[in-house]
Amino acid sequence: MSNAPTDRRYAKSHEWIKDEGDGSLTIGITDHAQELLGDLVFVDLPEVGQSLDAGGDCAVVESVKAASDVYSPVSGEVIAINEALDGAPETINEDAFGEGWMFKVKASDMAELDGLLDAEGYDALVAEEE
């Protein structure tokens, strides 16, 4: 069972990406991903100004169990990071789709979003895995 919000797109590697309508895209990991990882204890974010390639690893989330790479769903430049996660990585466990956002990018090609899953497609992927 999943309940992915319909206002955003999803990567098969369990990131969500939301078009904020002002040229910026917010990226985080899904609720399903945080549940698989368990209690998060460390988050390593990209740097503001860093340029990202679609599908490239750009952040790390570490839980009590293991480390996991986070991949950027699109190409672009990092324009903001969620610094609050540094002292409170558990925010992702508590609110993966909201307060637990990880970073914002300015996309170099908005068309890359079209290649990603919608909420229904992501829910189907999760259902398949379970």
């Binding site: 368990g38 204890v41 570490e62 009590v64 480390a67």
Partner: protein
């Protein structure tokens, strides 16, 4: 197909995430590993440890057999119920398993061995028993529950028989029996508490009664971070058949005296004891950002000096900690390579936390 303990239906009922471990399906956590960890440090938690094996050793030859089999000396055990931690070594001085052995009488000892190693342990013990008069009996009929935490004893005692309620007076590493029930003041968390053997058909009711008394079910995840904080080794991770107790921080468990006691592995261990190049087993606290994990490499400048054996996040210290095996000239600091970057760490002497508190001055 993995084995299941008699408490498996209780774990399912209590919402456990079950994972394969040492040939068994065991609870990893019941929701939050971190909360379970804090529950044990601050109140009381319980673990199903029925996957570990209780082995009874009985007969007139049992004591001389165990003095040959184990690196620690059971001759130190004089009182009924007294326990001893020991390694069981191979001929090369490597660790076959680590275990607790209880003295019940001059002709009856009881051991608790690890789950994943049980079959090889029993085979090894049988092989070594040639020439000694004793019987080795795995007690598959017993389940085992560890209740740990500052309130563990007070929550457990009212659920025990009148005789076993005297277990409240037990000193650490002592046990008391009543029929097939066996209550030991031992554990793997650095907290006060009991490890309790209970007849399998009574285990589910006992588990439920503990839960009703406010003891939280805890999984292997919390068990691992608790034992790491408490400075306790994990077999297969911190030591194995290629590693001697002297390179795993367990020299204190080897009884060198009396000199004439020829326990298995003594020769190679004596030689290693004098080797100035033998590795040191130390604790690490990460001072930079990240999480220490098993097998990460350690450096002093450009020189590789060792490897992490067990690493993780310490919920009590809110930092990452680890055990590591390093070259003997290690200083007070080193660097850990995490994803290609060198991150600074402090070298310390475990334990990191016990009895609810950090025990390191950082």
């Amino acid at each position: 197909m993995n084995k299941q303990t008699v408490l498996y239906p209780k774990h399912q009922q209590m919402g456990a995430k079950l994972v394969p471990f040492g040939g068994w399906d065991m609870p990893l956590h019941y929701g939050s590993q971190l909360q379970e960890h804090h529950q044990v440090r601050q109140d009381a938690g319980m673990f199903d440890v029925s996957h570990m094996t209780v082995v009874d050793l009985q007969g007139p030859g049992v004591k001389s057999y165990l003095r040959h089999l184990l690196a620690n000396d059971v001759d130190r055990l004089k009182n009924e119920g007294k326990a001893l931690y020991s390694c069981m070594l191979n001929e090369q001085g490597g660790v076959v398993d680590d275990l607790i052995v209880y003295y019940l009488s001059e002709e009856w000892f009881r051991m608790v061995v690890n789950a994943a190693t049980t079959d090889k342990d029993l085979a090894w013990m049988e092989k070594q028993s040639a020439g000694f008069e004793l019987k080795i009996t795995p007690r598959r009929d017993l389940a085992m529950v560890a209740v740990q935490g500052p309130n563990a004893k007070s929550k457990t005692l009212p659920l025990l028989s009148e005789k076993l309620q005297q277990a409240g007076e037990l000193k650490p590493f002592n046990a008391l029996a009543d029929g097939d029930w066996f209550v030991a003041s031992t554990g793997y968390t650095g907290e006060d508490g009991f490890e309790i053997m209970v007849p399998g058909d009574q285990a589910a009711d006992f588990w439920q009664a503990l839960s009703d008394a406010g003891v939280a079910p805890c999984g292997l995840g919390a068990r691992d971070t608790l034992r790491l904080e408490a400075g306790m080794n994990l077999y297969g991770t911190d030591m194995d058949e290629q590693i001697s107790p002297l390179e795993a921080g367990l020299a204190w468990t080897v009884a060198w005296e009396p000199e004439e006691r020829q326990f298995i592995g003594r020769g190679p261990l004596e030689a290693q004891r004098k080797d100035p190049q033998k590795k040191k087993f130390v604790g690490l606290v990460l001072t930079g950002r990240g999480v220490l994990r098993n097998h990460l490499k350690l450096f002093n400048g450009e020189q590789e000096i060792g490897e992490i054996t067990s690493g993780g996040f310490s919920p009590t210290l809110e930092r990452s900690i680890a055990f590591a095996r390093v070259s003997p000239d290690v200083g007070e600091r080193c660097e850990v390579e995490i994803r290609g970057k060198r991150i600074p760490a402090q070298v310390v002497k475990p334990p990191f936390a016990r009895q609810g508190k950090a025990v390191l001055a950082l």
